[in-house]
């Protein structure tokens, strides 16, 4: 039968209670001025329990950032299409639709997203490690690209691509965090994606 399972419902509930408590505290006092123990206390769970739901403090706010499977997209592209074209198509699509990656995780209204962005951008440490999250992604992409390019070239391509996408995402975050409406931020996002891929394809010199 397995409609939902009380057990799993409770887990989901706890997970959200933790995320909500964390976000509240972060918003009010800043990421660095909140301890994990406080979050656990506010969410009414033990610290150890918190860490069974979220592997690190960072993941409480960064959860799901940088989860696109670039390597997969490139590997699965239709024959004849260039890697760059495949990625462009993917992200153009993504930019056209509302923010997908968050549905699995957002307990509150869409302005919870905005709070998260603000928290991230407010803490340099957090921004930097959002950056670091892309590291694995980059390596995977480089591996796939190495199937059709020299290794060093593949590594360079992967680096440029992931760096560009990260920047586009950051720019989008910044717009959201500074209060731009979602609709207009989304429009700007499409333009940014185009710009990013144009630069990637044709180089910085041309203009």
């Amino acid at each position: 039968m397995r409609v939902a399972g009380l057990r799993e419902r409770k887990k989901e509930q706890t997970r959200r209670r933790i995320a909500a408590a964390a976000l509240d505290l972060f918003r009010d006092r800043g990421y660095d001025n909140v301890t994990v123990s406080e979050i656990a206390e506010a969410a009414e769970v033990a610290k150890a329990t918190l860490f069974t739901y979220y592997p690190t403090k960072e993941s409480l706010v960064l959860g799901g950032v940088g989860d696109d499977d670039l390597a997969g997209i490139v590997a699965a592209r239709p024959p004849g299409q260039s890697p760059l074209a495949a990625l462009r198509a993917h992200f153009t699509d993504l930019a056209a639709n509302p923010v997908a990656p968050d549905d699995s995780d957002a307990p509150e209204g869409s302005d919870a997203l905005m709070v998260r962005m603000r928290v991230i951008l407010d803490s340099p440490a957090l921004s930097a490690s959002a950056n670091g999250l892309r590291y694995r992604q980059r390596r995977e992409l480089a591996d796939v690209l190495a199937r059709e390019h020299a290794p060093t070239e593949a590594a360079l391509m992967a680096a440029q691509i992931t760096a560009s996408l990260l920047t586009v995402q950051e720019t989008f975050f910044q717009r959201l965090a500074t209060g731009t409406t979602m609709a207009s931020a989304a429009r700007a996002l499409s333009a940014d994606v185009d710009l990013a891929f144009d630069l990637l394809e044709h180089g910085l010199a041309r203009d």
Copy 2:
């Protein structure tokens, strides 16, 4: 008349003792399996003293990585030269000469450098945070590029450039770590610098 100063000689000595102890332990047991207290003990200093010489455990092995002042190079370039050309010139020069940034820090023979590379590449956490070190650099470069480009474009350019340089450096490290001789690694480095800037200038599509 202040030839060297006993005090400063001792400091330098201590600093090297710490670095050497750390490197030894890292080489033998891996970065993650060595405790800061152990390093301090091996170097015969108090933990607190260690931290007056090196701000973090990471800095013991990453010290001086990513210290090039990209923004400064671009800002100080001769009039009429493009930012990319200025950077290319700088790094072409750098690649032509022996490894400069290490002279201030290398206690042992040049194979200490090799050990460091191996330690870094052996620990994913370290590699990732070497990555993160570039973060500030990127922002600074973006700021100076924004003086002649639209902000988003400047951010994208800076991202691509720093990512490429990081990759070149990583590739160089990898060659050193895998035993390539310094001379031949240096030659490959020059080629990589050229390749990186060619891709940056003309794009990934062209080939």
